[in-house]
Symmetry: D2
């Protein structure tokens, strides 16, 4: 290792150590894995954000006996020092910050070259490539995990079309992941990213949140908690009604566009903010995406409307000047603002999500003989186990049912 590398490795190890201290559940699981070796002899290909928290997950799987190849699930989120530290620890990492789209896909192919038994995905790109370009590997794959809502939507579609070739655990769909990661993690890190990028005072501002799923709810709560007036846009009447009953101002985007100071898209869909909205916005409007890929804001439309673009007026902030002089600020080029302008989910949240993932991989390893292709929920006891370990780490105790209470809940014969 040359000098530059060893500096990188040291920096990466420090980051990983910092993350690990906030991930007591995954650390406890890693210790159990090291003793029980539930993944001995298995090859794992993973396509995840290459961050310190992911590194702790990789460490747990390696402790469990797996051989691992890791690619980045987003060209912008890779932490190069973490990647180097993982390589030093014996994990094949195919990722580098800021690579082109071509290199991004080549990295996924390189990770797949390990000929995986089990795959971990974040957005379905790796699974997609497996089913379209690397079909020769499909027979060897016994199972996978997918972490995002949008990835799960695609996988269910594939399963409905009989196109999915192995069992996949929808890690996104646990109660812990949905509630704690999507909601609290994305909530905080999105606002954190907006503050770092712009240093805007949010009190008194109008923040428009597009989408009121778990992530949108988290963003809305945090924006309100920072003193903003929050406007919610939705396409689902049930979610819209929930937002209304929580005191939010619910409007279609075309009405929200006129009043917003800050816009955050969290829908999993494309073109949520598009030309018809951009032309209505106030001077100084700030646009951020915390949803999925960089398609939620129609950046091309913004480019076409702008007479001038000032890149980097602040870190991760580009200023688009429209013909009439109005300025629109786009954060992180429309990519995930919480990953790009802040540091992604705090380690404590990833602890929940990655602990479920580690336990799900062990479950796949154990059950793969009997599982058929399809999308599986995380077994409920995994979820409860993760929550229980987390509360214990925070020093919180909960009540236990008495015998009489157990009886009461299970007997429908008792009258009123």
């Amino acid at each position: 290792m040359d000098g530059a590398d060893s500096v990188l490795v040291a920096a990466g190890e420090r980051r990983i150590g910092w993350a690990a201290r906030a991930m007591p559940v995954l650390t406890a699981i890693a210790e159990r894995f090291a003793a029980e070796r539930p993944l001995d002899g298995l090859r794992v290909a993973a396509c995840l954000h290459v961050t310190a928290e992911t590194a702790v997950l990789m460490g747990a799987l390696k402790a469990g006996g797996a051989e691992i190849a890791l690619a980045a699930s987003n060209p912008l989120s890779t932490q190069d020092d973490v990647a180097e530290a993982l390589r030093d620890y014996g994990i094949a990492v195919h990722a580098r910050a800021g690579v082109t789209r071509d290199v991004y896909y080549r990295h996924i192919h390189q990770a797949l070259d390990v000929a995986p038994d089990i795959v971990l995905d974040d957005g379905c790109d790796l699974v997609n490539i497996l089913h379209t370009e690397r079909t020769e590997l499909l027979d060897g794959v016994s199972g996978g995990c997918e972490e995002t809502t949008t990835g799960i939507i695609r996988l269910r579609q594939m399963a409905a079309e009989q196109a999915l070739r192995f069992p996949v655990v929808a890690v996104n769909d646990t109660r812990t992941k949905r509630m704690f990661d999507n909601r609290y993690g994305t909530g905080q890190s999105t606002l954190d990213g907006i503050m770092r990028a712009t240093n805007t005072l949010l009190a008194g501002k109008t923040v428009v949140v597009a989408g009121f799923g778990y992530c949108g709810r988290g963003v809305a709560e945090r924006a309100r908690g920072l003193g903003a007036r929050v406007v919610v846009t939705e396409i689902d009447p049930v979610k819209a009604l929930d937002a209304l009953l929580q005191g939010y101002d619910v409007r279609p985007m075309v009405a929200a566009a006129r009043v917003g100071d800050v816009f955050v898209t969290v829908t999993g869909n494309r073109d949520v903010i598009r030309e018809e909205h951009l032309v209505l916005m106030k001077d100084g409007a700030i646009l951020a995406n915390a949803g999925h890929f960089d398609v939620e804001i129609d950046v091309r439309a913004l480019d076409e409307l702008a007479e001038t673009v000032h890149r980097g007026v602040r870190p991760n902030t580009d200023e688009y000047v429209l013909a009439d002089g109005r300025r629109i600020l786009l954060l992180a080029e429309g990519r995930l603002v919480n990953l790009t302008a802040a540091e992604g989910h705090p380690a404590a949240v990833m602890d929940m999500s990655f602990s479920a993932q580690a336990l799900a991989v062990a479950w796949l390893a154990r059950e793969r003989a009997v599982l058929v292709p399809g999308v599986y929920d995380v077994p409920q006891e995994v979820d409860v186990e993760v929550a229980r370990l987390k509360l214990a780490a925070a020093g919180i105790r909960v009540d236990e049912l008495t015998a009489e209470q157990e009886d009461y809940l299970h007997s429908w014969r008792l009258g009123s």
Copy 2:
């Protein structure tokens, strides 16, 4: 009708009229039912709280063509004027405020005497009696609706034991009912009941909420919204963790008992507050139940601990004086404080719940030939329809997907 009756009828009609103005969705459905008569020739037996909002539901079903017999689901919640107005409108009502337990059960039997095609239940008592004491009627029943979480638990148990003899729609389990009724309705009406009963300033008080299901969440949010510090107790680690992440102080009841000023049980279980907790409480502690039956607080234990009981120190408030002089205030005798001390769910919330119920009855009538015994979810389109009508009534518009967005959501083949 004698003079007293006609006064009662007029009072009841005024109450029903007031409720109806806050129930635009159910009113719209009633108009459609009157035109389409989807329930022509059907007999319905219902066991529900006999309140003005229930009366609007009964009116919708009668408009749809049903013959109805109604009993009360709780001896304390019956509004006698509403009952009288319904009788005047041609609905057989077997209910009177404050009757004994014996009369309560006799009323349910009287409602069942109609030999129902369809039953509506709230807590599973009527369905329970059908399956144990009135089995001769079971062949005639083609379906039912159950409104409460605890009722559904019992029904699922019956279904698991092959004991359930007809299809039941779990009306409790719609997104609208859970989110809007359990959470927002119970949240407000529980605090309303506590304020009416005690006129206590909640700001600065410590409110202990036992149970963090949908109802408990609503109670916790409203207590916090009124300035209280909220402590949550739970038995489920996942819900406990959610409460923690929402900023609540999570503890076991034995630790909460020492610090609480006001206690609210919302668990669906029994003996949630029992002797071991009562002996630890502060002078002046207030106990209220907003969960299910009057078993959540162990009133018998309180009776045995008390040296003296002052009934009615305030409306719906009894004071128990313990041997050491500490005073504990029990609201509504441990029965549902939101129904007894306040007026139950605001009509606007019941509008959601009862609209789903009306549409579910029509669905049962339409599909009964093909349904087998078991517990059914409310069809999703019913739920979305209710939300859409509700938003329309509030003048709120939501976004529509563009064609490109529809495509994007349905195509897994698009890469990043």
Copy 3:
């Protein structure tokens, strides 16, 4: 005493007992007064809401040696049972629920007939009459207390015009009274009154709060805490900016009128809601006043706009039907909704306010020889003493400065 009276007395005593248990500070002061008799030989004329909490204050002053004559400060808020219990206790009470305006003023004159040394006022009516119609008594008056913000405004005006003839303590202007009474007390009781009068679900509603003083702030916080979207109207740019920064939607009334579901006036001014606003309102709009006299809502204009008025569609709720069919609901005839439809301030809040008042009366008694006419602030140590007693009653401890910290705060000579 005849039978009806003794029933009233017993009911009043029960109410007062209930209030007293939530007023530990005033109770402690009463005990001290009984021992020290600081008011021996003084005559007090009071014009206050005749409620259970006022009765506890009267008891403390009587314990301190005062002879008391009490009139009601609002014709609608008198609790007749409390009045009767006070009479039975030896206090001259000139008040009865629901009297006409003429009788109301006669009652104030009767209270003044005691030829007071000290006066207590709530809205400045008694002081006004003293200075205009009963000037023969002015020489005997050594001081007074005034409780409301609007009363203080008048008194300062009188003082500026040299018209005020004795020293008055502005009890309204303590930190404890402003923060805890105006803000938390009025906040809760106003929403409580609206819920009792209408049983409206506040979640998802738009509540317009006119005025963002201490009371308005409290109402806005509680409305938001119950799930409403809150719009604030103001005339003071600084208060308007504060509301904006707290996340409220700030607009002029003419813009708020179109969107509100519930309107609450808390300004201390007249005609805050007037014809130009009424004509813009939505069907079903609810109007409530929690500010001062019944002039904040222009009820006359509403009367003239209405084709029909249905009185009492709910308790304390009148429905005004406009020519185009829109219905507007006026609560408590435009009088104080928190006193009329609910029970006024919770006793725990009044404990703060009335304790300051009791200590201020003792201060006036002690200092009257040296005081000149004018409006006086409550001495700061009275305020701190009240807060300290209150925290002690709640079992809360605070930190004490160390000697080094005292030094640090007092020495400007230490550098950075």
Copy 4:
């Protein structure tokens, strides 16, 4: 100017431009100053944080005609690029990031060498030096402004001791500054600093806020808004009671120390967290100061307790390992976390504060002939003017009093 300088100047100008766009009020005032030249011929010495926002204020004063010498009020907060851009603009700046204490004081002396007519201070260091070490300049000084609460405390002490030699405007004590700057600015920037330094998930954490003044209130609100449970410590019973009534958990520090995950001091006093508290803290406790100088946390005591110190485990984060293995994280070496780890107050807040300051300097220039030494409040009309300009910039309108309403407020003669 050499190459490195011109790069710095360009970077600084970009920063200042960014700040200026969020400071519309100060920009409007600068334009007026440029036209009216109210400061022509005056020399100003300022000791302020050398940031982009300060640069906009300096620009306004220079536009008004002043000659300016600027030193830094904190050795850590200086932005070197901004300093360079100001020098390029013709302002004498004596400041450099990270200088030693000696250099810090030398810089203040150098700024004083301008022989100022008017001084601007932030923490009273410059005024202190003027009165102790540079007394020869005192005769020339006609007035000053002080921005911080702690500075004002010192100045009032000096005034009380007849030691203060010129009039000083307490810029801290306007309603706008207190409400908007202390509360909303410090609230957001403090949490921002903690997140940048640690990336900790605040939801579910216990945050202890020491001090419930305006700043503490803001920090507590934001911590709660990010999902934390907030514990408040205070020495003033009235503030403690206010915190309690806002739903906070109020305790002495010795009880808070055991439960806190994050501690923030905002008191203006020293040794708020000291050895007796440090020894009780949980492993991983985070300590931050957002109050005044670096004396609020007793860093020396922490140093003595620690066996090892790891500097820079994260940016602005040092880890102190105690003998028993517990780790305590100190942010920003105990200096202001919002200035050091984040970027200080968002420009939009500083706009309020610095606009008041600019108008106050003009007022001093105009009135100096008639003012005597002492501490002066900012004239009320300045404050209202600032709020009015700010609302206008946000597009918010407020109501105007009608003539009848003006009359009503001014006439005490109207009865009820």
